[in-house]
Symmetry: C2
Subunit: 349 residues, 2 copies
């Protein structure tokens, strides 16, 4: 067993604080990674505070993990000691259902095992990346091909990146398509960068006029201030695809009306309270779809990482020490981060 | 001009009553049809009673029209006097937008002209099929290839038939697919018949245990009483496509949860009040879609009619005289019809 320092919430009402637990020693098919950086996702906060049902405590969040391989099991052939490696939102799945067979482990019919709080999805309890080291079976470990200097900024690709990449790919973003990204936070800023790099025309929707310039810098061809009715009306029936990253309940009709015939709006944020009910006429009169999408499979996560390495894409981050995490959560709630906090695990020592 | 007897609502609060108006004389591209039968659609009732916004009075409803061609304009080449013919929900569209160019006039970007109450969709006012005769440009007139004896039962295909046919085709119903039809009314009973004839496995959802046998007679492979939690739970993650014909507000999540990965539920009924808001997790965790679909284009309406003629498919109807229409509306509100009223226009004389 491997003694591991970490930060954990002991109850839904607790601040995160130092915690120590045991990882399993690497089995034949396992990779042990020294965690160097871990991104801070809104899901971490929701889970640590028990805002979604089913948090098991103590809870060690973190599923945007990058680091260096420090040990491998006897049957590991994908990684060797010294490799850079990443771990995203999943560490296991059944491996034999239809979804797993298709490489879409995130939709595992028997429930994948989350990198932390595994039982929420049906598996054993697990501890995430706010910790020194992690042991994961090799098929759930990703290769990092970015320069080592970029490593901290790569971490958010493991959740924010793949969560926007997967629906962009699934619904065919690319040249000739009009894509909207709603919300400029951790997910939204990755959505803009990725959609732009795919060669699609990108419109960012933000409620903040102060984010217009930043949206353009990140790659948006157009930034629409969604609180301005005239700007919104000018884009009616315009989009093939809208990726909506906003988890707070809001009026979906305002965006559904911007889809052209057969367009789709895909929700990737999960609000604690439901959105106001969307209007049926908005769906019927243009055969529009309202859909959802969950992270992405391991194969496409590797594709996304390789694409980002090739195109020089990383996240915009603010690096923080481990003991800043509770302050970081409060700032996240105020959207006061551009655009992702990343923990430097060297500060956990 | 052609003096035409009809039934009309003079205000949203009026019963329908005899009315007389003038049709245009057929122009070079027009077909004049003596109306023999007209189906009674829920939209007729909603419009006549002003329950959707924008009814222009007097209102002559009716968009499931079948009859015989009695005159044709000089440039008409699709029809000749004596032909059986049908008219559905549209009598015109712009003809040059992207949707019209694709043969999807129902999604005309400039607004199609409805067969009655045209202004609701952007066109001139129009009077529908609760009348003796109608004059329509030939490109919006359908050929009827059923036996003449079936003519009354063909009428509901022009709306109830195409409204379920179009989404079944668009989302790929057929052999090997699991399709659900929610609601056994005018639309639902056509959905069951059409999906069955397409060779797909059909499950009918009804709240009425008394409709189980009738559902099977109509072609359902399985009938699920949707108020029985055990029957519903047994079908979780089961369907590729669900066509939801129920216009009354209801819990969409109960059906969204029955879709498999990448499944779609398509709404074809438009409630006056919104449905309770569907759960985002239900969409996200299986990449499901909630969509809408509006009638169908002229080309696919003809395809549907020809398919039905070939497969011997008609609607189950109850024939009524014109002066029964107000009683028929009250019975429709109680779902007391199996499964469509059709007016015998000979009774209007």
């Amino acid at each position: 067993m491997i003694k591991t320092k970490a930060y954990a919430a002991q109850t839904a009402a607790s601040l995160l604080a130092p915690y120590e637990f045991q990882r399993r020693a690497p089995g034949a098919d396992d990779v042990q990674i020294e965690i160097l950086y871990c991104g801070v996702c809104h899901s971490d906060l929701h889970t640590a505070r028990g805002e979604w049902k089913g948090t098991q405590f103590p809870c060690v969040p973190g599923h945007e993990i990058v680091g260096r391989v420090v040990a491998v099991g006897s049957q590991v052939d994908k990684f060797k000691v010294g490799d850079l490696a990443g771990v995203g939102c999943m560490v296991d799945s059944c491996g034999h259902c239809h979804s797993c067979a298709e490489g879409e482990e995130q939709y595992c019919e028997n429930g994948f095992t989350g990198t932390y709080n595994g039982p929420m999805f049906g598996g054993e309890n697990t501890y995430g990346g706010y910790s020194q080291t992690i042991v994961v079976k090799q098929s759930f470990v990703l290769h990092i091909r970015h320069a080592e200097a970029d490593l901290a900024s790569v971490a958010p690709l493991l959740c924010a990146g793949i969560t926007t990449w997967s629906p962009l790919r699934h619904w065919g973003a690319g040249p000739g398509k009009q894509v909207g990204i709603v919300g400029l936070g951790g997910l939204g800023h990755m959505g803009v960068k990725l959609a732009h790099a795919m060669g699609t025309h990108v419109t960012l929707f933000t409620t903040s006029p102060g984010k217009v310039e930043d949206g353009k810098r990140l790659g948006a061809d157009r930034v629409c201030v969604s609180t301005d009715p005239a700007q919104m009306a000018a884009l009616a029936n315009h989009f093939d695809l809208i990726i909506n990253t906003v988890a707070a309940p809001h009026n979906l009709d305002a965006f559904l009306g911007l889809l052209k015939l057969d367009g789709t709006m895909t929700l990737v944020g999960a609000p604690a309270e439901p959105h106001p009910s969307p209007g049926v006429f908005n769906l019927i009169f243009k055969r529009r779809s309202l859909a959802g999408s969950l992270i992405g499979g391991i194969r496409e996560t590797q594709e996304m990482l390789d694409f980002c390495a090739e195109h020089g894409i990383v996240s915009d981050i603010e690096m923080i020490p481990m003991d800043y995490i509770n302050t970081a959560y409060e700032r996240m709630l105020k959207n006061d981060v551009k655009y992702r906090f990343v923990i430097d695990l060297a500060t956990l020592g």
